[in-house]
């Protein structure tokens, strides 16, 4: 809570300087806040180009209409997530298509290619197998998240991946705290079900890639 207050104070200072026309303050604020917004948009859309557009739109809105942010209603982060969510919904309404995580296999391939080729024997070292297994788990979790219904997915991204409190997430999602909590519990239950695949099958699947 104390960390959150310190962060809010820092955000407030940067925002004030930004409102006074300080470009460096805007840049600092952007660099501080945009990765979470981008990741949220990426998880929600599964599309890097769309996530880029949404991130851009969110900060455009902050530049053009900074007065829309009311510190009494929640943190700047929650406000920005709220804008991102609205933009994503608009896009979905326009396009009516949602591409689930397209870069997953590419990313996994890149990671495997970057693994050390051990001592020249061609055998993959045990630590690399562990890394690969770990990456497989991460990939499975990511895929599982991407298949969650939208309202469950957004609470998982905000509360689990971005480590927001229920209160902050409630502001961002414009819904009661109890709704955030119950959605998250339901989402976690679904994720647990999806991840109950036998461990051996997972290892084969990961090495096969």
């Amino acid at each position: 809570m104390e960390m959150s207050q310190k962060s809010d104070l820092a955000d407030d200072r940067l925002l004030r300087r930004m409102l006074a026309g300080d470009e460096d303050a805007f840049t600092d604020l952007y660099r501080l806040k945009h990765p979470a917004i981008y990741r949220f948009a990426l998880h929600m859309s599964g599309n890097a180009a769309l996530a880029e557009d949404v991130t851009q739109e969110v900060f455009m809105a902050l530049i053009r209409e900074p007065g829309r942010f009311d510190p009494a209603r929640g943190s700047l982060g929650a406000f920005l997530f709220g804008i991102a969510r609205n933009h994503l919904r608009k896009r979905w309404e326009q396009e009516r298509r949602l591409v689930p995580i397209a870069h997953e296999s590419e990313e996994l391939g890149d990671f495997v290619a970057s693994l050390p080729s051990s001592n020249g024997s061609g055998a993959v070292p045990a630590s690399a197998v562990d890394d690969l297994e770990s990456l497989d788990t991460i990939g499975r979790v990511r895929r599982a998240i991407s298949t969650l219904p939208e309202n469950y997915r957004e609470v998982v991204v905000l509360c689990e991946l971005e480590e927001m409190s229920y209160e902050e997430a409630a502001v961002a999602l414009n819904c009661p705290v109890g709704t955030v909590r119950s959605r998250l519990h339901r989402a976690r239950a679904i994720l647990l079900e999806k991840l109950r695949e036998p461990r051996a099958a997972r290892r084969v699947s990961a090495l096969g890639k």
Binding site: T27, P35, Q56, S165, H185
Partner: protein
């Protein structure tokens, strides 16, 4: 604690400020005594680890640099525009303030003129109520000269402490308001001298002397008179 309560709380064990966090000890104790809930707890812990690993792995995910460049450009444009608008507003505000001050100044000046005019009523003249009802004959310029103890030649000699009534035409004047070729002379007159000019004077025994301006025509005949009330004399 029973299994349904456990299921309600076990997702929030590590989330400060929640019921699950507050009841953490009871939840863990229940898991020790219930194998099904213990399994759920283990799975939840695995999920937490996986989510944490995913979150850590994605920490460095960010939008391309071109987005930042584009936004900074937009920021510069927006704030340059608003700075221009601010300067325009400041100029407009200054112009408005100047116009208001000017209007106030003019109003004040007009008000002072009006008050000065109304304050110079004949009522201000000490114990005199001149009227133009009687006809008392001519007073020539030599008469004026003879009664003058102080002679002035211009109207602008009224000092700050003076206030003057309007000119009153003398009963025999031809054209009392015309000063063509004539002049205005400042004189100090006794009450009998005022009476000789045709002004009704109530108390002839009073010995005070009254300052006045007289319009004298080109031929030296007094045409009109105004009494000067001197606050210094009051």
């Amino acid at each position: 604690m029973d299994c349904s309560q456990f299921e309600e709380l076990f997702h929030d064990l590590d989330r400060p400020g929640t019921d699950g966090f507050a009841a953490r000890q009871s939840v863990l104790e229940h898991a020790e005594s219930c194998s099904q809930c213990a399994q759920l707890l283990t799975q939840a812990e695995s999920l937490d680890l996986a989510l944490s690993a995913l979150s850590g792995r994605e920490t460095n995910e960010r939008a391309p640099a071109r987005v930042e460049n584009l936004l900074r450009e937009e920021f510069r444009k927006t704030h340059a525009g608003s700075a221009r608008r601010r300067v325009r507003w400041q100029i407009a505000a200054l112009a408005t303030a100047a116009a208001v001050l000017l209007a106030l100044g003019l109003s004040l000046r007009h008000y002072e003129r009006v008050t000065a005019g109304s304050g110079n009523d004949l009522r201000d003249a000490p114990s005199l109520t001149p009227s133009i009802s009687s006809n008392t004959g001519d007073v020539d310029s030599s008469g004026v000269d003879s009664v003058a103890t102080e002679v002035a030649t211009a109207d602008n000699q009224l000092s700050d402490s003076d206030s003057a009534s309007a000119f009153i035409p003398l009963p025999y004047a031809d054209d009392s308001m015309s000063t063509d070729g004539g002049a205005i002379v400042r004189v100090v007159l006794s009450r009998p001298e005022l009476a000789s000019l045709g002004l009704p004077v109530t108390d002839m025994s009073d010995t005070d002397r009254i300052p006045a301006d007289i319009i004298v025509s080109e031929d030296g005949a007094p045409q009109a008179i105004r009494l000067i009330a001197q606050s210094a004399l009051d």
